[in-house]
Amino acid sequence: MEMNPAVEISNLSYRYPPRGRLALDGISFAVAPDECVAVLGPNGAGKSTLLLHLNGLLPEKLPENPNLRIDGIPLTPETVHTVRQKVGLLFQDPDDQLISATVFEDVAFGPRQLGVDGPVLRSLVEHSLKLVGLGGFEDREPHRLSQGEKRRVCLAGVLACRPSVLVLDEPTSDLDPRGRRDFKQLLRNLPGAKIVATHDLELAVDLCSRVVILDEGRLVAQGPTVALLSDEALMLAHGLEKPHSLLHRHPHG
């Protein structure tokens, strides 16, 4: 039996209402289970818009003929809540996600709706926090955490829902170098498919085997990370640059 791709996007377009510009223009690509794909592109290329689609948060009215499949499940108004559980979305600004009074409450938000409660919930939250290296943070207040800790609490809240796909929007943009290194290490060890929208090209090189480049809503290139990011002309044409770690590396070596 052939495995379904974790994510399958076919000919996805989106225009911001009313009569805005075309933010996504015929995007198609797929992500295998356990594959990590980076979505790159300049500001306004449509990266965040694309990620919101993966969770059914856009378009405002989900189409009856879905152009998105998660684990083989078409994304329709009927399946959207199943899909939201399968796709864990980590937002760009942790403060958007962390709005509960304590870390515990925030991590428990998702599992509670899945009917988890009592001691099982407590141990699930503990486990999720340990996974992200924040064991014992249950009673802390989110607004007193460092940026890196906030990120990791967000991740714990997403992991607690046991998603099969992790979708990350600029996961390292506001972290210091150590926080960035730690977070990268953490992501590398997590199972499941991952889609990472980022400007952090070193992150793409370290973490992702494949890269998708968007520009002005169109998918302009996709392929193996090192080969694509070494193509200096392609990088510059789309507001990117060749990462330092590849400067002295042969594209096919």
């Binding site: 948060l57 939201r84 958007d96 709005i99 709706q113 899945l114 829902c161």
Partner: protein, 189 residues
């Protein structure tokens, strides 16, 4: 046409109309037809769309009803209650005509010229600047909650909503602090 009238004149007339309405008798009276006719006459000159007016009147109606209901606690209150409804609606309609035809910045300018304390003008200006920021922030928080909502229900929706509102207050206070510091850093006193 009303758009091109001097902002000072518009602000002044709006205030006069509102004060006149407030001073009218505390019972339904033929006198109210005067401001009503005036405002209805100005409406076509302002070219204010019906939808714009209706949506905003509806929002205000909650507050108006809340206040007017309080008057019902007094004995023989019905005329007062009705007068409160009429006065509030007419006043708000006058204000709608003003804001539809006058850019907010010119209203602020005129208020300053009329001698409103600078602190209040600044407060209004900041409110106007940051309301959309708060709206944007709340919609991002709602989106983040929606992405982790798998079992939608009314109780959960209310719980999320109250959490978001509470957070908005805390964050607005934090942001106000940062804005204040940034203003001070550029020499505001």
């Amino acid at each position: 046409m009303l758009h091109r009238a001097p902002p000072g004149l518009k602000l002044g007339s709006a205030l006069v109309i509102v004060i006149a309405i407030v001073l009218m008798p505390r019972r339904p009276d033929a006198l109210y037809l005067l401001p009503a006719a005036l405002l209805l006459g100005l409406w076509p000159l302002a070219r204010m769309p019906l939808g714009f007016a209706v949506r905003r009147m509806l929002v205000a109606e909650f507050f108006i009803l809340g206040m007017a209901l309080l008057t019902l606690l007094a004995p023989e209150a019905l005329p007062v209650f009705l007068a409160a409804l009429i006065k509030s609606n007419l006043s708000i309609f006058a204000m709608l005509l003003l804001i539809w035809t006058t850019p907010f910045q010119s209203i602020l300018q005129q208020l300053r010229r009329l001698g409103l304390p600078a602190v209040m003008v600044t407060t209004l200006a900041l409110m106007y600047r940051y309301l959309p920021v708060l709206a944007e922030e709340s919609s991002r928080m709602q989106r983040a909650r929606a992405s982790r909502t798998f079992a939608p229900g009314r109780r959960l929706a209310w719980h999320s909503l109250t959490t978001i509102i509470g957070q908005l207050f805390v964050r607005a206070a934090d942001r106000a602090e940062r804005i204040y510091l940034a203003m001070c850093a550029r020499g505001w006193k």
